[in-house]
């Protein structure tokens, strides 16, 4: 790409939305939903009946809300939403070590029989969902950071403000 083409591509950002980041954001949300509908699906008696289930539900609601807001924010190259997405993305990796990992390592009794709370298959699936979600959100944030920087420099060079 020549310098001229690069300049035009940057100038296009004044009128074209950052759909790349927002679409990655939607992908992150989609895989979070996949994760959430899969995490509690096995019949493991009363294992999940504690405060963690409430916290996980509330966290997921907050996650969805912020992720949706961020998807709109990054569409318009809003820098602050990049950090929100990076935070949410990192949290998806942290979440692997909370419910899924704990459930995978835990045993519970169903009809007086000791069983694993989360089998290998389910654990692998939910971890994959969380990883994809996390990667998508971090990528969305990083791409928006880069584009925001490019757009800001371009606007400065042509004497406009964001």
């Amino acid at each position: 790409m020549t310098q001229d083409e690069r300049t035009i591509a940057r100038d296009r950002m004044r009128f074209i939305k950052n759909t790349q980041s927002s679409r990655l954001c939607y992908l992150g949300i989609l895989f979070d939903v996949f994760f959430f509908v899969n995490i509690y699906k096995s019949d493991v008696g009363t294992y999940y009946y504690n405060f963690k289930i409430g916290v996980s539900i509330v966290y997921n609601l907050i996650f969805l809300l912020i992720a949706f807001l961020a998807s709109e924010g990054v569409k318009n190259y809003k820098n602050e939403y990049s950090y929100a997405l990076l935070g949410l993305g990192i949290m998806q990796f942290v979440r692997i070590f909370i419910l899924p990992m704990q459930a995978h390592n835990a045993m519970t009794e169903v009809n007086d029989v000791a069983v694993g709370v989360m089998g290998n298959g389910q654990f692998t699936t939910v971890v994959i969902y969380l990883v994809i979600s996390g990667v998508a959100l971090i990528a969305a944030g990083l791409i928006n950071l880069k584009k925001y920087k490019e757009l800001s420099e371009h606007l400065k060079s042509i004497g406009e403000t964001a």
């Binding site: 083409e5 035009i8 591509a9 100038d11 296009r12 004044r14 009128f15 074209i16």
Partner: protein, 358 residues
């Protein structure tokens, strides 16, 4: 380079209703042709046939000598601007203007250049990030034009683009279209029922009625030498006055008035002596004089001009005069007028009587 040729074009619908009869027109490169006529005269149908939105029943349509009669609309390289703008409400102005090029999968940087150039021409640069709902009617119509400009088509087609705008905006947008035509030097076909638009915009006007072409000519030709009573009555505001008169030597005798003919007029009417014809006089060609007594029925002051409506003598023959200046006639007042420029029409054929044409 875009020359358009419409040859013997008919439009006959499935129910055998014929909307256009034997339409012939050669449009030169860079010419702005206005199709004008009352509602239902076939002007929009003709435009839609040119655009490829309606099938051509008979005849040929040539673009730069190439027969495109049966070519699909997308392959005709023409862009149409509709009365209703036809913008996508969920897209920004930039996206609306770029849309057709995006569909063609053109290079985004090329699209960007074209959109910015079109926006610059149309004064829309500061509106590019807005949605159509945030713009005024005139601005939206400019976006619709911009969408056509970015495509760089061979022919621009306008279907009553100003009809949705209020009078003031119509005037300014009309001037913008004229400037646009001068700047782009593109071939344009423009449909309107508004004779003011036709007269101000056109290089040539095609006046239509009931599917037939009545006259093709420059605005001045249509105004000054109308081919028949229809064109004479349609072009000009207020419309031309018509009187049934009998040619008697070097005078015309009408109901309640007599006017003398100049030698040139007498020559024009040679062969009509003793016959009834239709005399046409434009309101602006009537001046205060001493030939025709008129009982005033209404006085309309327009500022620079005054429209005086009345009946000739004691008859019910109505006429309207457009006088320069401010006059305050009351109902029942009598004013006396003279006719300056006269038009003569054959009573049977309704065609204009030209010199030597009997």
């Amino acid at each position: 380079m875009a020359e358009l040729s419409l040859q013997h074009i008919d439009k006959i619908y499935d129910n055998n209703v014929q909307a256009v009869y034997d339409f012939n027109l050669d449009v030169k490169d860079g010419e702005l042709i206005v199709l004008v006529g009352p509602s239902g005269c076939g002007k929009s149908t003709t435009l839609r046939m040119v655009a490829g939105l309606e099938d051509i029943s008979n005849g040929k349509l040539l673009l730069d000598g190439k027969d495109i009669t049966d070519a699909p609309a997308k392959d005709r390289d023409m862009a149409m601007v509709f009365q209703s703008y036809a913008l996508y409400g969920h897209m920004t102005i930039y996206e609306n203007m770029a849309f057709s090029l995006t569909l063609r999968k053109e290079n985004p940087n090329v699209i960007h250049k074209k959109v910015l150039a079109a926006a610059e021409i149309l004064g829309l640069t500061s509106q590019l990030n807005k949605k159509p709902a945030q713009l005024s009617g005139g601005q939206r119509q400019r976006v619709a034009m911009g969408r056509s400009i970015v495509r760089n088509p061979k022919v621009f087609l306008f279907d009553e683009p100003l009809s949705n705008l209020d009078a003031k905006l119509r005037g300014s947008t009309r001037r913008e279209i004229l400037l646009l035509h001068k700047r782009l030097k593109a071939t344009m076909l423009y449909v309107t029922h508004d004779q003011t638009e036709a007269l101000t915009l056109a290089d040539r006007i095609v006046c239509m009625s009931m599917g037939h072409v009545q006259q093709v000519g420059t605005p001045l030709e249509l105004y000054d030498s109308p081919a028949n009573i229809f064109v004479a009555s349609f072009i000009g505001l207020p419309p031309m006055n018509f009187f049934d008169v009998t040619v008697k030597g070097d005078t015309l005798e009408g109901n309640g008035f007599k006017v003398s003919l100049t030698p040139e007029e007498k020559q024009t009417l040679a062969g009509y002596d003793g016959k009834e014809i239709v005399l046409g006089v434009r309101p602006e060609n009537i001046t205060l004089g001493n030939d025709i007594p008129v009982k005033v029925t209404m006085n309309e002051n327009l500022g620079m001009n005054t429209l005086v409506h009345g009946n000739i003598g004691d008859t019910n023959v109505h006429m309207t005069a457009k006088l320069k200046g401010w006059f305050d006639y009351s109902n029942g007042d009598t004013a006396t007028f003279s006719f300056d420029r006269k038009h003569f029409f054959d009573k049977e054929t309704t065609n204009a009587i030209r010199g030597g044409n009997v």
